[in-house]
Symmetry: C2
Subunit: 189 residues, 2 copies
DNA sequence: GTCTATAGGTGGATAGAC
DNA sequence: GTCTATCCACCTATAGAC
């Protein structure tokens, strides 16, 4: 198969549209036009918008899990690991998009329950991993932090999501870079 | 007048709806029901949704300017001032809402141009004020910071916006508190 | 798997009476 | 200022042919 199958194309397109326009501002018609089929065919692959939302978020969450595992096996040291984590967000920022999860968090009150659950899981997985990574740094590298690991993990997740949110509005600065500089100073200072 | 006039009620309701559901997920019908009139009457006060969006953001931006001026006249010292600034976001977090500007930043690509301009102005005004406040602390209080004032200002704005975004999804933690602790340590450390 | 056709609902917006 | 009535565009979703 040289070309990607239709279901994957739909997932890709839906993800991009949610990240750039938000869950409530994209339609099955947008998807259909982008992929070159009709809306009825989209419903064949994903019966409802909720089904599609869950599928996109589930895939995104699996990708996060894979990324974190890859970092843990390929990299040693708290700071290098966190730098690689932050890199994920830098990529998004350079594309001018939100994190999929951050975008859906914004629309939380309007989401189907199943999608909302996926969003919560993603946030928790990110926060737990950062917290664990910092705790390991304290135990194994003698790292000293001025705040609790859980405070720092919560702050980092929020800061990175906020960076992607704000950098689209604020003149295109490199906000993720700034967060990285400030955060890593806090960590090692 | 014991009761608030209709236009103000509409502004209040629109602001709340945007903060909780987002720009693309609220309708003139939602407003009409909340205020107890019909949609045609809403159009009398605000001919188009873009007009209403601009009006809400302009008022919000004026309130920010007033808050910052009040802080500057009533409070001295970099850290106390920043604490009061952060308090604005803590209030929003306790209500479970986004900052109006942060919510609209998420919907930026789908907004009318005039609304988008208001969002940009709000972000810039916030960032400039923080930057100025930190610079004043350095000059007048001998404050030493480990990062540049502009880095720290950009980070703080992003972190606070992100906190409001994430705290709704992440089990209701006090993320603004965490940001405050981490940030002020960076500032004075 | 994809299509045409269509249903049923909701969106923003306008005209004109009161 | 508020109403009723209405327009048209778009939305999600389904039925049934190919």
């Amino acid at each position: 198969m040289s070309t990607t199958d239709t279901a994957t194309q739909l997932l890709d397109t839906a993800q991009t549209l949610i990240q750039t326009r938000g869950y409530n501002a994209y339609s099955y018609n947008d998807l259909a036009e982008a992929v070159g089929i009709k809306t009825a065919s989209v419903h064949y692959h994903f019966p409802s918008k909720a089904d599609l939302g869950v599928a996109v978020m589930a895939r995104y969450r699996a990708q996060l899990a894979a990324s974190l595992e890859r970092i843990d096996t390929a990299t040693t040291g708290c700071e290098p690991k966190l730098r690689q984590f932050i890199d994920i967000y830098r990529t998004a920022e350079s594309c001018g998009t939100m994190c999929l999860c951050g975008s859906l968090a914004h629309d939380l009150d309007t989401l189907p329950d199943e999608v909302r659950a996926e969003v919560n899981s993603y946030i928790e997985a990110s926060t737990r991993w950062i917290c664990r990574t910092i705790e390991a740094g304290i135990e194994q590298e003698g790292l000293t932090t001025s705040c609790s690991p859980s405070d720092m993990a919560a702050t980092l997740v929020g800061s990175l999501q906020g960076s992607l949110l704000v950098s689209r509005a604020g003149g295109g600065g490199h906000l993720v870079d700034a967060v990285e500089r400030v955060f890593l100073v806090t960590l090692t200072g």
